[in-house]
């Protein structure tokens, strides 16, 4: 709630002005039935057309004034809400940028998008039309009831008799509506997810001849959506009946009692007409109340969800440290390092390692051994669990994350390209890098050979409306991206897996020259890729089972030697 208040505070002037204009709007709205009453009375009692004309003209003038004030009031309140939401969205985005990898591991992209899109829309409804109508309803109720009471207290009391019971019923039904509308929305999201999953993997669906199953599954979801919507329609219909019923019941009561009063002469005909006009004014807000109840319920829910995100902070101690990071030489050490993903079991158990600056470390091991995890720790995206990670002797937790990342470049296993040009993708970490640097990085990553196949060379756009890159090309863009950072520590997380051996050899050769004097971590399943490393690390089940130079490990006859022999035996097969 606090953050919404703060956001609203920035536009206090708009909302205040809006409030003032709303009060005037409502005041003027109430003047019209009053003028009407007097007009009719003038007609009935004085039989003077001039008097009637004056009241009619009065109504016209008030109407024109009303039009202006109404426009202003809506402009200030609704406009204010748009500004508030734009601010909130910007704040949410800025905050998302500070959240750590563990947050993104827990929350699906769709879920975060839903916060930033759907929930902000709900906040907009609350802070715009919600507030607008809240003010309107309170003013109209107070003023309408007051005017009615001035005309006839007893009649007023009689008119509002059905309100409490009906309002209670309305709030009950609107809670049902809320639940049912959520249920329908959830089902729509299910449909959306199903379509996304299906369309993203359509070739597999076809390959496995799964179309009919998919249509059946989709059809079931869609029909569930229909059922939920119909349930929602029943509640909505009920609330319409309740709301109109309320207005109608009051009208009948007023007609019944009011008619008797007029006949008895205790109320003028004009008075009755005016009374009924006021009653009609109350009908609108009453109907609005049910709607507002929903808007506030949903809006507050959205705010709670947004606050939950905004209250999260990075779990990386380095994110809180100000100032620059001391320049690193590239020396890295693990001390009894253990790690578990949020809500997961431990994947690294007590890893010890000393890497001198400028060394090349090869990491091998079976699937799920913890190699990528180790690399993620190096990339400073997850907090270190038990044990220590040291850069140049500094505890990882004592180094400012951003400064640290400046000196470390990670090429992740799965490449993510932004829908920008290839050059912009390479320059991700250095948007202002000179063209020559970008081209050099592209050259080392062996992208030069692909240039002729792209319509605009490095300035070709990637993605939906640009060209599609092959897996190998994507990985090479990612490598160029890391090289351009000119890092002290480079981490290749199986980043050559989709690149053919020929190209890989060329890239490794270029890398060796480029990385001279810098620390490199290379993860691979190919012995060839890590064979040139100064030191190898064999991981199994989150533990280092073997470490040493490639030659030492080959001599040691451990897992690495076995791995190497498997590949060697294949070679020897040829000699047979």
């Amino acid at each position: 709630m606090r953050f919404l208040r703060r956001a609203l505070d920035a536009y206090r002037r708009d909302f205040l002005l809006g409030f003032v204009f709303l009060v005037i709007t409502n005041g003027l709205t109430l003047v019209i039935p009053w003028l009407l009453k007097h007009g009719i009375e003038a007609l009935q009692q004085h039989q003077s057309l001039r008097l009637v004309g004056r009241y009619a003209a009065g109504i016209g003038v008030v109407a024109v004034l009303l039009a202006f004030v109404r426009t202003w009031s809506r402009w200030y309140v609704l406009g204010g809400s748009r500004r508030v939401v734009a601010d909130l969205r910007a704040r949410l985005f800025a905050h998302l940028q500070t959240l750590p990898a563990s947050f993104y591991a827990r929350h699906r992209t769709g879920e975060i998008m839903s916060r930033a899109v759907n929930d902000l829309l709900l906040v907009r409804s609350l802070s715009g039309p919600g507030i607008l109508n809240l003010i309107n309803v309170s003013i109209l109720y107070t003023a309408g009831l007051l005017m009615m009471a001035i005309l006839d207290v007893r009649l007023t009391l009689a008119a509002i008799v059905p309100y409490p019971a009906l309002l209670y019923a309305v709030s009950r039904v609107s809670r049902t509506i809320h639940q049912r509308s959520n249920a329908a929305q959830e089902q729509l999201a299910e449909i959306s997810n199903k379509a996304q999953e299906n369309l993203s993997g359509i070739h597999q669906v076809k390959a496995y001849a799964r179309e009919d199953l998919e249509v059946a599954a989709f059809s079931a979801l869609s029909s569930g959506y229909r059922t939920r919507n119909l349930a929602l329609a029943r509640s909505r219909g009920l609330i319409v009946v309740l709301m109109s019923g309320l207005g109608g019941l009051s009208t009948i009561i007023v007609l019944w009692f009011g008619g008797r009063h007029v006949i008895a002469g205790t109320l003028s005909l004009g008075g009755l007409v005016a009374f009924m006009s006021y009653l009609a004014i109350l009908t609108g807000p009453t109907i609005m109340m049910g709607w507002m109840l929903g808007v506030f319920q949903r809006g507050l829910g959205a705010i709670r969800r947004l606050e939950e995100i905004l209250s999260q902070t990075s779990d990386l101690p380095g994110d809180l440290l100000p100032g620059p990071c001391p320049p690193l030489t590239g020396q890295v050490a693990f001390r009894a390092l253990s790690f578990a993903y949020p809500e997961g079991r431990e994947v690294l158990h007590g890893v010890d390692l000393d890497v001198p600056a400028g060394a090349t470390i090869g990491l091998v091991g079976p699937v799920g051994a913890g190699k990528s995890t180790l690399v993620r720790l190096l990339g400073a995206v997850f907090p270190v669990g038990r044990g220590m990670l040291l850069f140049d002797g500094h505890d990882f937790n004592d180094l400012p994350t951003r400064g640290l990342r400046e000196q470390i470049a990670v090429v992740p296993q799965e490449t993510f390209l932004f829908s920008r040009t290839i050059a912009e993708n390479i320059a991700l970490g250095r948007p202002d890098a000179p063209r020559a640097d970008i081209e050099r990085a592209a050259e080392i990553a062996q992208l030069t050979r692909d240039l002729p196949s792209w319509p605009h060379g490095l300035d070709t756009r990637v993605g939906e409306r640009g060209v599609t890159l092959s897996g190998g090309q994507r990985q090479r863009v990612a490598i160029a991206r890391a090289l351009l950072m000119d890092p002290r520590v480079l981490v290749l997380d199986d980043a050559l897996s989709s690149i053919d051996a020929d190209t890989e050899a060329a890239i490794l050769a270029g890398l060796r020259r480029f990385m001279r004097g810098r620390t490199t971590f290379v993860i691979s399943h190919r012995v060839a890729t890590v064979a040139g490393a100064d030191r190898l690390l064999v991981l199994e089940d989150g533990r280092v089972v073997e470490t040493g130079t490639p030659a030492e490990l080959l001599a040691a006859d451990g897992p690495f030697a076995r791995l190497s022999r498997t590949q060697q035996i294949e070679r020897e097969l040829e000699a047979m």
């Binding site: 019209i32 009407l36 007009g39 009719i40 009619a56 109504i59 024109v64 109404r70 809506r74 985005f93 940028q97 993104y104 992209t109 930033a116 899109v117 999201a189 959306s192 997810n193 996304q196 369309l199 993203s200 993997g201 359509i202 070739h203 669906v205 076809k206 496995y208 249509v215 989709f218 059809s219 959506y225 919507n229 119909l230 329609a233 029943r234 109109s244 019944w256 008619g259 009755l272 699937v367 990339g379 400073a380 490449t415 993510f416 390209l417 991700l428 050979r449 196949s453 939906e464 053919d500 020929d502 060329a506 490794l508 050769a509 060839a528 064979a531 040139g532 791995l563 190497s564 070679r571």
Partner: protein, 628 residues
């Protein structure tokens, strides 16, 4: 670092209702008879419901219009003359009219909603089913995000057409006519005064609606941009942080966000003034009636009751006019959606079932490529004159550099595409003569990108065959050595997988894909680089398992890693979309051609020579054709 969301892949919304992409904004005619006729075909089955709804609508209208008239008679016959008896009757009549109105309204809302839901449910499923039948080339042309909006936003905008649309429109039109009729019946001259405001209101509505619509369109475009940006930014957040690009991103986002806010503010201006102006016209009309009606009351040409009834009717006059002008916008967006939907429904797949009836038995597994040529784009051949035969039970390996056309061979074999020239036969019959499903059911496939559905591990292994027994699922997993990691999961085989298997490593996903192919037990097995990311040790285990699976089964294995295909009966070496060499491993090595070079590079590297920069002389660069 999660999710392999490709640049721009994935819907820009992913949350419930989608947001149309900018290029979906086809300027549509407001009403298109052809589209309306086609929609009618979907609506026709609901004719009964619609008739019912119309009946209820008339009941609502009658009951609601009789109420002011009752008040008029009450005033004229009882209140003004001071006659108490009979007042109760009127109150009761009013109550009855009112109750009927409420009940009928409820029924009308419900029947209409039901009609709409039935229609869009049918339409949605039909659109989805049509997509399932379309060719891969269609999906190459249309990004996932755009197709998503077809089954979400586009279909939903039709729901609006029904909920706030057709019948309401009819009702509004009838109501207007009825009110005008009653007004003229009550007093023709006063009615004329009231009616002068109709054209004014319509003109104002259309003027404003045009502006508002334009403003909304601007807003929608910018919302689409915000969503696209957010989707990508959130998916790539780890990378943004690693490369410290936060500030640039924030600046870009602020620009887009501000732009969107400004467009919204413009729409607010029009919206605010529109409602105020409509209100103004209505109030001025009231004043006009009071004045001119008053004059006629004074000249005794009009009773008080009539004047009051007039004011009442005039108040009921505006709602239908406002609704009518609002309907215009709903209609326009529905027509644009309809156009897109019917376009999709009209798209015919070119890959269709052949004339031959399906055969119940599984294929023997003889695969024959006969001078096959293929290109995704004209003049850019991917395969040229490819001919080979795989005899039943034979294991054939396909090797070649990236972009040599290996994957395309697989895509052609399972008929995701048809060859541009030549012909592919399965057991001697042209694939194009067979039912599409039959062909695909014969082929077990493990592709490069792992497709995991939201479901349990077991469901993902069973995949195409829901009736698969748990024993067989687990046996398949054991065979490919996936059993070990699956059992380590908290719920083992019942472990639900996250979005595209987000909680699994790449290697684990590969193992599951492999288990899936094994579980399906197809006569032909196709492995496309299935083992590229699995360490040699696991790979050896899989090889061991596969050699049993492959025995007696036709198989095609694609890999850059030659280790996986040494056991093959025959190796096809692809280069530039052609088969350049063919034979057994040793024969090929002896040829000292492309194969020998590929092999040399792979295993020469193991010596560490390449890392020492003394790279072996490289053959001409292997161009990578950009495959869609």
């Amino acid at each position: 670092m999660r999710g392999g969301a490709r640049g721009g892949h994935g819907a820009p919304h992913a949350v419930g209702a989608g947001v149309p992409l900018p290029d979906d904004e086809v300027p549509a005619r407001v009403y298109d008879a052809r589209l309306a006729r086609r929609l009618l075909a979907f609506v026709r089955p609901e004719a009964g419901l619609i008739a019912l709804s119309i009946a209820f609508m008339f009941a609502v209208m009658g009951a609601s219009l009789v109420q002011p008239w009752l008040i008029k008679r009450l005033i004229d016959e009882h209140i003004v003359p001071g006659k108490v008896e009979g007042v109760a009757t009127f109150a009761l009549l009013y109550l009855a009219a009112f109750t009927i109105e409420l009940l009928a309204r409820y029924c009308q809302i419900y029947t209409m909603e039901r009609t709409g839901q039935n229609v869009i449910q049918a339409l949605r499923v039909q659109v989805f089913a049509r997509m399932q039948r379309l060719d891969m080339s269609f999906f190459d042309r249309n990004p996932v995000g755009r197709l998503m909006t077809r089954v979400t936003t586009d279909v939903e905008s039709l729901a609006d057409l029904f909920a706030s649309g057709t019948v309401t429109l009819l009702g509004d039109a009838c109501k207007l006519v009825a009110i005008v009729g009653i007004l003229f019946w009550l007093d023709a001259r006063l009615a004329l005064v009231t009616c002068t405001i109709v054209p004014i209101l319509f003109a104002l509505s259309i003027l404003f609606r045009g502006r508002i619509r334009q403003a909304y369109r601007d807003v929608r475009r910018r919302v689409a941009r915000i969503n696209a940006f957010l989707q990508e930014a959130v998916s790539g957040m780890m990378l943004t942080q690693l490369f410290r690009r936060e500030e640039e991103d924030r600046r870009d986002f602020t620009a887009i966000n501000d732009d969107h806010r400004d467009a919204e503010l413009r729409s607010v201006v029009y919206e605010s003034s529109f409602s105020a102006v409509v209100e103004l016209v209505g109030t001025v009309a009231t004043a006009a009636i009071l004045w001119s009606g008053g004059a006629r009351v004074l000249s005794a040409a009009l009773t008080f009751g009539t004047l009051v009834a007039f004011l009442e009717y005039t108040a009921r006059f505006f709602q239908p006019i406002r609704d009518l002008s609002g309907f215009y916008a709903v209609l326009q967006s529905a027509m644009a959606s309809l156009e897109r939907l019917f376009d999709l429904l009209d798209t015919e797949p070119s890959i269709v079932d052949g004339p031959r009836p399906a055969v119940a038995s599984m294929a023997a597994g003889r695969v024959e490529f006969d001078h096959v040529g293929f290109s995704y784009l004209p003049d850019e051949p991917v395969l040229t004159d490819v001919s080979f035969t795989v005899e039943p039970g034979q294991n054939v390996a396909i090797v070649g550099a990236t972009g040599a056309g290996k994957t395309t061979v697989v895509k052609l074999l399972i008929r995701l595409y048809d060859p541009t020239s030549g012909c592919i036969r399965l057991d001697g019959v042209d694939l194009r003569d067979r039912p599409v499903h039959e062909v695909r059911q014969q082929c077990g496939l493990v592709m490069q990108d792992h497709f995991l559905i939201a479901g349990t591990v077991a469901e993902n292994i069973a995949f195409g065959d829901l009736g698969l027994s748990r024993e067989r699922i687990e046996a398949a997993a054991r065979l490919v050595h996936a059993d070990r990691f699956v059992r380590a999961l908290p719920h083992a085989y019942d472990e639900p997988l996250r979005e595209r298997g987000g909680n699994l490593s790449v290697g684990q996903k590969q193992l599951l894909s492999l288990a899936r192919a094994v579980a399906a037990d197809p006569p032909i097995l196709i492995l496309d680089e299935a083992t590229s990311s699995i360490d040699s040790e696991t790979e050896a285990l899989i090889q061991d398992a596969l050699s049993q699976v492959l025995r007696g089964r036709t198989s095609l294995v694609i890999a850059h890693r030659l280790s996986t295909i040494l056991a093959a009966d025959r190796i096809l070496v692809f280069h530039h979309g052609r088969i350049v060499e063919e034979g057994r491993h040793r024969e090929l090595l002896a040829k000292r051609g492309v194969y020998a070079r590929l092999y040399e590079l792979q295993f020469g590297l193991a010596e560490g020579t390449a890392l020492q920069s003394g790279r072996p002389e490289r053959a001409e660069p292997l161009p990578v054709p950009s495959q869609p």
